[in-house]
């Protein structure tokens, strides 16, 4: 995307904006975080991720500097990303340790100052909020990514090979799309049991059909271009044409859509966890925090327990949506 191939003498940030360094940074941030959250690796793995995240923010900021919308979105998203990778290194109390129940925000108890108070079990809200973003982000992004890989693959096949392939894939997609999303989630997770990996499966089933349709439409348009004919008349294998000739050209519109969908997925995961169908206690998670707070937050005094995780989710989703808007804005300008 907005990887600028600047003609001017490249500074550090421009050099980092080239595809290879940018992707390296992304992996340096993402792989440790995923290993840490999904497989409970030692917190040392997160060490390289912290500088990578900061550099990546700088690169993204530089490339999107023309759109203030995108900049605000980026800042929100990267704030949470930075919290996610650096949580173990921040001076926070153990998020699972009950200390003093029902401590209000900005008050001190047992020589600890609680910025955001504690929950009904006496666990530090600030610490839980920061640790809680890890699971939402990791599972949300992973689920969206898997849905995109599968949706794009089927979209390319349906669009490019058409005929029977298209009929079958489109039919299946329409069947899946005819279920309300939440019903689909609940059915799948009830059947498979609640866990992070099953959330990925559920999100894929729910999102891939729509992604498939978008990619299929783009493919139908692009496959009539002369460069695709040129590849066909060279006798290229259909797989080569789909991956090398078509995929890079459907990428642009898909990335915008992916940002939006990240927002939906975050909502979905939080909702599922709230319903008890997603990630399981005791580890902190925004959805869980809302679920637990719902029992006690009836009292106005304790509504902060609900407000903190709810606002956190909102800022992350807002970040994704603003990023999508900014990206679209920028792609329209060129």
């Amino acid at each position: 995307m907005a990887v600028s191939e600047s003609i001017a003498a490249p500074g550090l940030v421009e050099r980092l904006s080239a595809p290879k360094p940018a992707i390296t940074l992304l992996l340096l941030m993402w792989v440790p975080l995923t290993i840490y959250v999904m497989f409970g690796a030692h917190q040392f793995v997160l060490l390289p991720a912290i500088p990578a995240t900061i550099l990546l923010y700088w690169v993204a900021f530089y490339n999107f500097r023309e759109s203030s919308t995108a900049i605000i979105g980026l800042t929100l998203v990267f704030f949470w990303l930075l919290m996610a990778v650096s949580a173990p290194y921040l001076p926070l109390v153990d998020p699972n340790k009950p200390i003093a129940p029902f401590t209000l925000p900005f008050s001190e108890k047992r020589d600890i100052f609680f910025w955001l108070g504690t929950d009904f079990k006496g666990r530090d809200m600030l610490s839980r909020m920061i640790w809680g973003c890890q699971r939402v982000i990791v599972w949300g992004v992973t689920a969206t990514f898997v849905a995109y890989v599968i949706g794009t693959l089927f979209g390319l096949i349906a669009g490019y090979l058409s005929g029977w392939w298209d009929e079958i894939i489109s039919f299946l997609a329409n069947v899946l799309l005819s279920f309300p999303v939440m019903v689909l989630f609940i059915v799948i997770l009830n059947y498979l049991g609640p866990s992070g990996f099953n959330i990925v499966v559920a999100v894929t089933f729910a999102s891939a059909p729509a992604i498939m349709r978008i990619v299929r439409g783009l493919t139908l348009d692009i496959k009539t271009r002369d460069y695709v004919y040129a590849a066909q008349t060279r006798g290229e294998h259909p797989f080569y044409i789909m991956v090398i000739e078509l995929l890079p050209n459907v990428r642009g519109p898909i990335i915008v859509d992916a940002c939006l969908r990240l927002g939906y997925t975050t909502v979905a995961i939080t909702t599922l966890t709230f319903l008890g169908l997603g990630l399981q206690p005791p580890d902190p998670d925004w959805g869980l925090m809302i679920r637990e707070a719902a029992k006690t937050a009836m009292l106005w005094k304790f509504s902060y327990m609900l407000l903190v995780p709810a606002l956190s989710v909102s800022t992350l989703i807002l970040g994704f949506n603003l990023m999508a808007d900014g990206l679209r804005e920028m792609s329209l300008k060129d």
């Binding site: 271009r225 004919y229 040129a230 008349t233 060279r234 006798g235």
Partner: protein, 692 residues
């Protein structure tokens, strides 16, 4: 005439667009005086500001465009000081515009009659009955058959040529003083275009409307206009009476333009075209001084690159003005651009032979899932017979829907032939789809595509796309070897080597097309099919790309199948010509045989339809009636029978015509007319008698 008020006058008009990159001066210091009844042509290449001038006159500049200087007088009144209300009235009743795309002016969801009626109802306040009456009359005046039927149809139910006639009728209904036509025929086929051009010419005579006719085609301007402005990169560079400009051009760019279009007499061996070197500057990259400077052979430092240039009058002719500092020093007779003559190439053995090849498409109409509706056969190619030799250029000529592209697809293995054979050497290709062809066969046959914006994958580098072909066809394996060949190919197509690392969007149309040519020749093919390779390019770039294509062909002794609708280009470069109409070959023979009698009636009409930018040429006028029939529903008997002026009822529309052979070289005409009748046809194009 001079005591009349001009209908329109532009004085030092400057127009800019404001974009993210800053102000783009699209038109600078533009002057124009249009007298009542006069037709003024504006000619120039893409992006030179022709449309901007027209839009400024209409005051439709959009959000980001504005007139930044000068005056714009309509019948002596400054349009810039008029209120929006006055402007709206003016636009509806006194100025009308016709665009390139007829559908841009028509509402797809409204019956044509209703759209037409709006004009007299709104402007003259007449009753609905009367408006309908007038509309029908106007449709008849623009020579649409059966006006009542057309009034009751929706725009998509009539053909492109008919749509454009409707748009013109709509423009004329308000009896405007000024008609602006922006490339009104560019989207149409040549024979349809000829009809519209004739109509436009008659409008000037019949209604006394003044016209501004915008086109990139000098021939069309010659056929329609009295005066002419040549524009280059936002400036008028030469203005004058059409004959003065055509016969005594005084600007190096105008001269270059004429040198790069194939006029009768140009010949790829003896008188090759002379391309203007370089390419158009972008508006924000214009040089200091003369915009044409970097491409001009007469450029002189200190004269041409000092500040803004002014228009100068040509001595002895106040109406003829040029924007060139050195026009009086140039010897216009001696310094004619001349290409180097090249020895003709001897063609070798037959490489490709097409034997009775037929391709039918079966389409299902309004099918529902697998339960097909009515089946229909489209006869895209019917009994094609011809052959091409080594190092020979065979042109396939025809209008849209004649089956040119289908033929290319069968050849390339993207479609199967329904019957007959296509042989490359001794390999039968007709029923060998590309997946089943071996590497060797595939690499022998390559293609150059029409649309420069589509021909390269925007996501990959130029070098990478050429390299893929080299690897795929096993020309070279190691990275060094492949790179070496890529560089050599870039040298051959005259592009700098560092273009290998660029992406297509950093290239101009002409440059992309050159890469497309390099890619086609990367696998050392024996046969290259070029499907309208230059028709989407700017005139001054076309010649360079055409020449390049032919030089490489000459070098490698490649067989070139050149698909085109442009007979001027075909005459220039083809050795043999195949004329197609609705999927059938109407005539084939050597280029000379095609361009002189005996003609097939269709070839004759096609020749007469091509506008020629040469005042010393006289052309017979033949305007075909009707439109191209749909290939899914071709006429019985001779496919041309619905439009042919020699049509013999009872014979041509019943029986398929026989092939008449002439000469020894295989000149064949598919027609019922007697060979002697065919032989007695008059030449379409003649040099004018010198007597006058």
């Amino acid at each position: 005439m001079s005591d009349q008020t001009p209908v329109l006058e532009c004085r030092n008009l400057s127009i800019s667009y404001y974009t993210r990159a800053g102000e783009i001066p699209a038109v600078v210091d533009f002057n124009l005086k249009l007298m009542p009844g006069e037709s003024h042509g504006i000619v120039g290449e893409s992006g030179c500001g022709k449309s901007t001038v027209a839009l400024a006159i209409m005051q439709y500049m959009g959000k980001n465009g504005a007139i930044v200087g000068g005056e714009l007088l309509f019948e002596g009144r400054d349009m810039r000081s008029m209120s929006p209300d006055e402007l709206r009235k003016l636009r509806g009743s006194k100025i009308a515009m016709v665009y390139q795309e007829p559908m841009a002016s028509l509402n797809p969801a409204m019956r044509i009659g209703d759209q037409l009626c709006e004009v007299p109802i709104y402007h003259d306040g007449v009753s609905e009955r009367e408006a309908w009456q007038r509309s029908a009359e106007m449709l008849a005046k623009v020579r649409l058959p059966d006006p009542e039927r057309i009034m009751n149809s929706f725009p998509h139910q009539i053909s492109g040529g008919q749509q454009q006639r409707v748009v013109i009728a709509m423009a004329l209904l308000s009896s405007p003083k000024l008609l602006l036509l922006d490339e009104p025929t560019t989207a149409l086929d040549v024979t349809v275009e000829a009809g519209i051009v004739e109509l436009i010419r008659d409008i000037a005579d019949e209604f006394g409307t003044s016209m501004i006719y915008i086109s990139h085609n000098l021939g069309l301007i010659l056929e329609t206009c009295d005066r002419l402005t040549v524009m280059y990169s936002g400036e008028a560079v030469e203005v004058g009476d059409i004959h003065d400009v055509f016969d005594e051009m005084r600007h190096p760019y105008t001269r270059g333009l004429f040198g790069s279009i194939p006029l009768p007499g140009a010949d790829k061996n003896e008188h090759p075209l002379v391309a203007i070197p370089g390419q158009l500057p972008l508006p924000h990259e214009r040089p200091k001084g003369c915009n044409f400077g970097p491409r001009c052979t007469f450029f002189r430092q200190g004269v041409c690159d000092t500040g803004r240039l002014r228009m100068h009058s040509v001595p002895g002719d106040d109406d003829h003005r040029v924007r060139c500092e050195r026009f009086q020093e140039i010897d216009w007779e001696r310094d004619l651009p001349k290409g180097e003559a090249k020895p003709p190439v001897e063609s070798g053995d037959v490489v490709l032979s097409v034997d009775d090849m037929t391709k039918h498409y079966v389409i299902e109409e309004s099918g529902f899932l697998i339960f097909g509706g009515e089946e229909k056969t489209v006869k895209a190619n019917e009994h094609l017979n011809f052959s091409a030799r080594e190092a020979e250029t065979v042109a396939i000529v025809g209008e849209s829907g004649c089956g040119k592209s289908t033929f290319a697809k069968v050849l390339m293995g993207l479609e199967d032939a329904t019957a007959g054979q296509v042989k490359l050497g001794n390999v039968e290709l007709g029923n060998l789809p590309v997946e089943k062809r071996d590497e060797k066969t595939i690499s022998r046959l390559q293609m150059v595509f029409q649309n420069p914006f589509d021909t390269l994958n925007p996501s990959h580098t130029v070098g990478g796309q050429i390299a893929r072909v080299i690897r795929k066809f096993g020309v070279a394996k190691t990275k060094e070897e492949v790179d070496e060949i890529v560089f050599r190919l870039l040298d051959i197509v005259k592009l700098p080597r560092d273009f290998a690392k660029r992406r297509p969007r950093q290239l101009s149309g002409g440059q992309k097309q050159r890469v497309g040519i390099a890619r086609a020749f990367a696998g050392n093919p024996d046969v290259v099919i070029a499907d309208e390779p230059v028709s989407a390019l700017d005139v001054s770039v076309q010649a360079a790309v055409t020449d390049l294509l032919m030089d490489i062909q000459r070098e490698n002794r490649t067989t070139l199948l050149f698909i085109s609708h442009d007979l001027s280009v075909v005459r220039y470069l083809a050795d043999r010509v195949v004329v197609m109409y609705l999927g059938q070959i109407m005539e084939q023979g050597t280029t000379e045989e095609i361009f002189s009698p005996p003609y097939h009636p269709y070839t004759e009409a096609l020749l007469a339809a091509v506008p020629i930018a040469d005042t010393s040429i006289e052309k017979r006028h033949i305007v075909l009636k009707g439109e191209l029939p749909s290939p899914s529903n071709p006429p019985k008997g001779c496919p041309f029978s619905t439009r042919c002026q020699y049509m013999m009822p009872g014979k041509c529309d019943v029986e398929a015509p026989p092939i008449r052979a002439f000469g020894r070289e295989g000149h064949e005409i598919l027609c019922h007319l007697d060979p002697t009748e065919l032989q007695e046809m008059e030449p379409v194009i003649k040099k004018k008698e010198e007597a006058a």
